[in-house]
């Protein structure tokens, strides 16, 4: 196999916490990420799953260089990017982009779609290929939005559509890696399915690499190539998706999988059979 595109080695992130004792308090730290390592190959999706407080989001932010590591390294394509500054960091940002959970709070409500999706290029002082209008239209088409709405504001879109804008914004700089931080968690089931489909399609057609953060295991099953299960800042199990889901090795993974509510498989089978029958009857 080829070299991994994104590699994190022994990531540690500590946050200072408010100790007791006012001015005289001793400094205290909380270790949110505790020695986490992972690799993602080009065109694949690594899903980080875990419950709240597991450190999965912090890990994602470390990998995207939105937070600085306490120790450990992040490598992109073999290059150590842990300590990049200014222009070098800008270059890294055009390779690795992030899509956040809540599109409405992560998109500037006073900016039009066009301004939102072209902003990353402007910040990096790169030309907008083909002009802002045409560029925005083509991006919107790629993520399944009506290009005629390029002058509208985020609030004028539904949740699913707004998240598509978030994805368009991430794609504007043609990144190789997209970090999806609970990118579909806030969406309704129907919309969520569409956004998952979009992400899969983009990966298939453009070879994108995803670091996919989610607490919803069923969603992860739909999109991941590999899965890393996190709890209390550590990865307790990592492996190919079906291996983790079908034959979990770690106690915690089993507990997590057992807890997920399921529609009875026999109902599912019967529904598909019924649906097939009625489809056959109508055609």
């Amino acid at each position: 196999m080829s070299e991994p595109l994104l590699r994190a080695t022994n990531l540690v992130k500590e946050f200072p916490v408010m100790g007791t004792g006012g001015l005289l308090r001793r400094p205290a730290t909380f270790r949110a990420v505790d020695d986490v390592s992972f690799e993602i190959r080009a065109g694949e999706t690594l899903a980080l799953v875990g419950e709240s407080g597991s450190g999965k989001s912090t890990t994602a932010r470390l990998a995207a260089r939105l937070l600085d590591v306490t120790s450990g390294t992040v490598e992109l394509d073999g290059e150590d990017v842990t300590a990049l500054k200014r222009s070098a960091l800008n270059r890294f940002r055009s390779e690795v982009q992030v899509v956040f959970q809540d599109p409405f709070s992560s998109l500037n409500p006073r900016h039009t779609v066009e301004r939102i999706v072209t902003a990353p290029l402007l910040y990096q002082q790169r030309p907008v290929p083909g002009g802002a209008r045409a560029f925005t239209r083509s991006l919107m088409e790629r993520v399944g939005l009506d290009p005629d709405h390029s002058q509208k504001y985020p609030a004028q879109f539904s949740g699913g559509q707004a998240q598509r804008i978030g994805i368009a914004r991430a794609l504007a700089v043609s990144p190789r890696v997209v970090v999806c931080d609970e990118a579909v968690s806030a969406l309704d089931v129907s919309v969520q399915a569409q956004v998952i489909n979009l992400l899969r399609e983009l990966q298939r057609e453009e070879g994108l690499t995803y670091l996919f953060i989610a607490h919803d295991l069923a969603v992860v099953r739909q999109i991941a190539t590999r899965v890393a299960v996190m709890t209390q800042g550590q990865v307790v199990e990592e492996g190919a998706r079906d291996a983790v889901f079908d034959a979990p090795r770690h106690e915690y993974t089993r507990k997590l999988l057992d807890a997920v509510p399921r529609i009875r498989p026999e109902w599912e089978r019967q529904r598909r059979a019924n649906a097939g029958r009625s489809a056959g009857a109508t055609s």
Binding site: T20, G22, L23, L24, R25
Partner: protein, 330 residues
């Protein structure tokens, strides 16, 4: 709790020391040479030097500051020999213009300022809370809109204008209030009380308006909280929902603001005291500025800083009693 108090007091003291340092630094850098002022008309350079020496003004800044801080706790003596001036602890400086220790000057006037502040605080709390609650209960009605208009108007009227208008209307025209006369409480309590009515009103009205708006906004916010919905869903009567679940959370933030506002006012209401000729700390400060009596200005500044810091500490302690989240996190 004691541990929390200890840390709170220790950081409070630290802040006070910084307030001292900053105040001293400002006056050290900005004010004209006090020695020249004390020296008077028939002054020679030698005399000035001598006075400087007596006051310690020839010392470096840090030495002067140290002497000042020590003076607060232990008292100090300015100069020596026959011209020596005693300044007992807590020595906040000595006014050579009034030939009095600043602390004594403050202590004489503090009760008057406190009377003004306490009376005004009672007034504005009553008016603000009642007005805010009524406004919130009757949200969107005529009463609510009327209150909102009234608060906006009263917040935009400057104190001194209000004071003059009130004096003219209440004393001159309507004659509801007598002309202010200097009386002691023991001699003529009624006249004494009536003397203070106008300052109280003038001082209270701006605060009352602000507190009305704050109370209204807080109550409306809290009524939208999920736990208020829960309280209704439990079948609690409306009165209990309001009293227990809406009022306490809504009024808690007001404690903070009140503590600071009140502490700030204890140190004297500059404009109101001056306009009404009330001989409090505020008027003293105003007079001292006019006379450029530097030690007094500095003393009053320190007092104000001290009161605000202490007020903050009191608020913090009170907060631990009324908000359980603070209590445990502390």
């Amino acid at each position: 709790m004691p541990r929390f108090l200890l840390t709170r007091v220790s950081s409070g003291l630290m802040v006070l020391l910084l307030v001292c340092l900053f105040t001293y630094l400002v006056f050290f850098a900005l004010s004209p040479d006090p020695a020249v002022q004390i020296c008077g008309k028939n002054c020679t350079p030698e005399l000035i030097d001598q006075i400087r020496g007596n006051l310690g003004l020839d010392q470096p800044f840090w030495t002067q500051f140290f002497l000042f801080v020590v003076g607060i706790f232990a008292g100090r003596t300015y100069g020596d020999g026959a011209g020596a001036v005693e300044c007992a602890a807590p020595c906040l400086g000595y006014s050579f213009q009034s030939s009095q220790a600043v602390w004594d000057m403050i202590v004489q006037r503090l009760p008057v300022s406190a009377t003004v502040a306490i009376g005004a605080a009672v007034l504005w709390l009553l008016a603000g809370l009642v007005g805010g609650l009524l406004s919130a209960v009757k949200e969107g009605t005529f009463l609510d809109r009327f209150t909102t208009g009234l608060t906006l108007t009263s917040m935009s009227i400057p104190n001194y204008v209000l004071a003059l208008v009130l004096q003219y209307v209440l004393v001159v025209q309507l004659q509801w209030l007598p002309f202010p006369q200097a009386v002691r409480f023991a001699d003529d309590p009624v006249q004494w009380f009536l003397n203070f009515v106008m300052p109280w009103m003038v001082l209270a009205i701006g605060y009352a308006a602000a507190y009305t708006r704050l109370t209204r906004a807080n109550v409306l916010d809290v009524l939208r909280e999920n736990y208020v919905r829960t309280a209704y869903a439990k079948g609690l009567p409306q009165s209990l929902v309001w009293r227990r679940h809406a009022l306490r959370p809504a009024l808690t933030p007001i404690v903070t603001i009140f503590g600071m506002d009140f502490a700030g006012l204890l140190g004297g209401a500059l404009i109101t005291e001056t306009v009404f000729g009330i001989n409090g700390v505020g008027k003293m400060a105003a007079d001292s500025i006019a006379r450029n009596d530097q030690p007094v200005i500095m003393g009053v500044t320190l007092l104000a800083g001290f009161l605000v810091v202490v007020g903050n500490m009191v608020v913090d302690v009170v907060y631990t009693a009324i908000d359980p989240r603070v209590r445990v996190n502390a």
